[in-house]
């Protein structure tokens, strides 16, 4: 039973990955990645990682992919045309550059795959051939939310806090990167009159006066 489920999920994983690499339209690439992530969650369940599988479906295939879909819909028109137009002609065409690029990518990928398989499977470790450690189901069994939560709040507390800070920094950075910038075009430089300007006397040492702007 688990073997059948493994092969079905593995086929989904590989098909999704190939779809991401091959498909032209970025929107279809995102959908292929969603299928890939859902199949991967099945594999995580087979490996007794229940909490990680749930996080994968909820956070990854849910939230992060929604972000992708929004950006593809926002950028989409221009991205599609450049992707299908000039890039499609160059990469999908029969020119020497395009075929050389594809051949180079395939050769490099094949070499990397052979090396990885030798490194992973050729080690001679006996545990790789086994089915894993003994497992007994229960409320605090391996991989359940209780188990992972206890590890996160005891042994890996520092990791947990650092990850939360990393998320905060990334959120602030994304807002800073994607905000509308003033002053690049030059026509947005006009002063904005705020209600405080009417109440406040001149030369009170505000930061606007410090940089030479008198309101």
């Amino acid at each position: 039973m688990s073997a059948v489920l493994f092969f079905i999920a593995a086929a989904g994983v590989i098909a999704g990955a190939v779809g991401v690499v091959v498909l032209r339209d970025p929107f279809y690439c995102v959908l292929a990645l969603v299928a890939h992530l859902l199949s991967l969650a099945v594999l995580f369940l087979l490996l007794r990682a229940e909490f990680v599988a749930a996080v994968q479906v909820l956070v990854y295939a849910g939230a992060v992919m929604v972000l992708y879909v929004f950006v593809v819909a926002y950028v989409g028109g221009e991205g599609d045309r450049s992707e299908i137009g000039q890039l499609g002609e160059r990469l999908g065409g029969a020119g020497p550059v395009a075929s050389g690029l594809r051949l180079g990518g395939a050769v490099l990928g094949g070499a990397l795959l052979v090396e990885l398989l030798i490194a992973l499977l050729g080690t001679g470790l006996e545990a790789i051939g086994g089915k894993g450690a003994p497992y007994s189901p229960g409320p605090h069994a391996f991989g359940t939310p209780a188990y992972v939560g206890e590890l996160l709040l005891t042994r890996f507390l520092v990791v947990f806090e650092v990850a939360s800070f990393l998320l905060l920094i990334a959120a602030v950075g994304a807002v800073v990167l994607a905000r509308r910038r003033r002053g690049l075009g030059g026509q947005d430089e006009r002063e904005v009159l705020t209600p405080l300007d009417l109440l406040r006397p001149r030369d009170t040492g505000t930061m606007a006066e410090g940089v030479g702007k008198h309101s």
């Binding site: 690439c29 990854y60 051939g129 950075g173």
Partner: protein
């Protein structure tokens, strides 16, 4: 299924992501292929955690997911910024770092 099958599958997914990063030119698709590579690493981590019956690999996989979310956040912010500047969304034409 033995652990070796999962490791072979993780290697295949990683290589597919690497090939995508090398050959594609749309930064959005390159980010997606980076996700593929991270997912291959995640699958290997969880397979090893199952192999030893130890939860450390699962914690590391969760941290990798967090880092991937941060990377997506910053990368998509940069793509939106590029789009606002009316620059082409193609990594071959964005070869200058200066604004």
């Amino acid at each position: 299924m033995t652990i070796a099958w999962y490791l072979a599958l993780s290697a295949i997914v990683f290589v597919l992501g690497a090939v995508g990063v090398i050959t594609r030119r749309n930064p959005l698709v390159i980010l997606l292929c980076l996700e593929l590579m991270l997912n291959g690493a995640n699958l290997a981590l969880i397979a090893f955690a199952r192999m030893w019956g130890n939860g450390d690999g699962q914690i590391l996989a969760l941290v990798v997911m967090t880092v991937a979310a941060c990377e997506v956040c910053i990368g998509l912010g940069m793509i939106v910024a590029i789009y606002r500047r009316r620059l082409p969304i193609d990594v071959d034409e964005l070869r200058e770092l200066q604004g």
